[in-house]
Symmetry: C2
Subunit: 359 residues, 2 copies
């Protein structure tokens, strides 16, 4: 997971930086999304490439946490449309680095320590501590854990931020706290009356070296992988271009594999309305009905050249909810028979009534 | 173009055949579409791979021309939604092979002769004739051209089919004509009252060896490349699986590069509504307005942290049609100023009136 995310975001960054190099006078802010297949090394690290679908959104050119908060609006909007209830864990790299600094860790080790902390879910607290002992003093490590664990006893984001303000007395921590406060300020506005669950999670580190400020991961209950994740990456484009201009940026990736894994398993095909002409003579009427439904964006298909028993068998196999049956009698009367496949009920409808019969 | 199409359709076929090999009990008919990035050799035939977006639709398991006619419904529906007026050239490989047979060409040479004919647009009639002289007798070649050119003097598809019925007296030609008649029969039903331009074009050959029956290409006026193309490929899956079961199939590809090349050049960004808060205090109101518009699927963005002059400059550069300006006065009165960027007119609206102000 971490590795995939890494490849994914680096590829993106390369592409974006290239786009900026080629289009110097691109207007800022620049907002973009991309969905497409890319290749990456497989999880078993074999030499072969493996295809997966990448889905990214980025905003470039806005320094304010306003941009980060807008990503929360995107996040909750997208997952609400998918029918998945999610919660977001946020942290800020500067807050995290401030905690490291407060614990006496040297600046050069900040990113490396963060990458170890990021493994908490995978290798557990003891695993992380073991790894950190190779990198920093045991005392420093214990201090980091004690500061963060103390904060986790608090009830809400405001209390946590107040606590950090009290215990952290270095510039980078203060900057991180200020950014988080601005973030929550804009989140409140974007959120308006909606219910968003966003929790400050100071152990959250994200596996990428280039994040500079806010970072977040999106989860749903009873599923361990993050469904989406993102963060602020303010320095990368500037570094890549070796430019004097700043390119503040925020971006996120959706983990389509994880999302598809938890989406309701209902088959696409169960949504179609299956139109069954009893004889070849009714195919014409069936096509007319299909054209009407398709104009209304109602998925449908025709049981072309299928006996009624075979057609109903197919409909049952595909868990299709509605069949429209058209025989000689129906055609003569200018009606169709609508069969509800779930309760077996049937009723006759005029074609004009059909459009509104499918929920 | 030909080469791209070749790679594209072969890759697809491989994938589909594999899908069938792995899912023996897949229900027929099986209808699928796929849009995604794939790699192909570049047009300069360098060793490097080049990415392009592939867009395919296939129906597997329907032998009747009903399935082919349904592709015409898809074609005209898609391009009408894109605002591109198209016409379709159709032919049938069996008709074409029947013409070859009638001209005395040996069966083994049918596909090869068809591939030469397919180059008509690229290398012209003389070029094709030169190429064909290497493959078949000059007399045979002249006969092919005379049969087809005679048909092209006729006014409509019915007359052409009647003509071919008269001059072609072999089984394969008869089969092709029968398939074309069935195709036009179903086209008429699908077409209903819409205006579709579909012309039987006996020179049309398509650059692929595996087409077995109907073939078609989609064009628009004043643009030489096909925007989409397809055909029936009844034998391939069966051959691939070495199966006794028939897998009749029809499929088409959309040429996204060609389609994007002729789509109206209007930039995506010109469609957004640009919300300009005059001071930082109005950002909150701007976000509220944005949330309302976005819920209505109206694209919008906020000129965050931009002076009004810069914001209007940006809007002009992006050819944005509407700006919503919110200042202290507007906020107090609970209204916004809607500025039409094309005629410069401004009017004040209540937020509830906004949703319906953008066409």
């Amino acid at each position: 997971q971490g590795n995939r995310d890494l490849v994914l975001r680096y590829e993106l960054t390369f592409k974006l930086a290239k786009a900026f190099a080629q289009n110097k006078n691109i207007s800022l802010p620049f907002k973009r999304y991309e969905i497409g297949k890319v290749f990456r090394d497989g999880p078993v690290k074999k030499a072969r490439l493996r295809e997966f679908t990448q889905c990214d959104i980025d905003t470039i050119g806005i320094k304010s946490a306003y941009a980060d908060a807008e990503f929360m609006a995107i996040t909750f909007d997208v997952f609400s449309k998918l029918g998945i209830e999610v919660f977001v864990k946020v942290n800020n790299r500067k807050l995290l680095f401030g905690i490291f600094k407060e614990s006496g860790v040297e600046k050069e080790k900040f990113v490396s320590v963060a990458l170890s902390l990021d493994k908490l879910d995978k290798i557990g607290k003891e695993g992380v501590k073991k790894e950190l002992e190779q990198k920093i003093e045991k005392e420093q490590m214990e201090k980091i854990f004690s500061i963060i664990e103390e904060s986790e006893k608090l009830n809400n984001n405001e209390e946590k931020l107040e606590y950090f303000k009290k215990v952290l007395n270095n510039e980078i921590a203060k900057e991180g706290i200020k950014e988080l406060e601005e973030f929550f300020y804009y989140v409140k506005i974007f959120q308006n009356k909606e219910k968003w669950e966003i929790a400050l999670s100071p152990f959250l580190a994200r596996g990428l070296g280039y994040y500079t400020g806010l970072i977040w991961e999106v989860y749903t209950k009873n599923f361990s992988s993050a469904l989406a994740a993102g963060g602020r990456w303010d320095n990368l484009i500037q570094k890549y271009l070796d430019s004097k201009i700043e390119y503040p940026a925020t971006g996120m990736s959706f983990g389509l594999d994880a999302i598809f894994a938890i989406l309701p398993k209902e088959q696409e095909e169960s949504k179609i309305v299956y139109i069954i002409p009893l004889q070849k003579e009714q195919v014409k009427k069936a096509i007319e009905v299909a054209s009407i439904l398709r104009k209304r964006n109602i998925f449908c298909d025709i049981a072309f050249d299928k006996k009624i028993t075979k057609a109903l068998e197919y409909a049952n196999k595909k868990k299709i909810k509605y069949c429209i049956i058209i025989g000689k009698e129906e055609e003569k009367k200018g009606v169709v028979k609508l069969k509800n496949m779930q309760d077996g009920s049937e009723r006759f409808l005029e074609i004009s009534q059909l459009e509104n019969s499918f929920v």
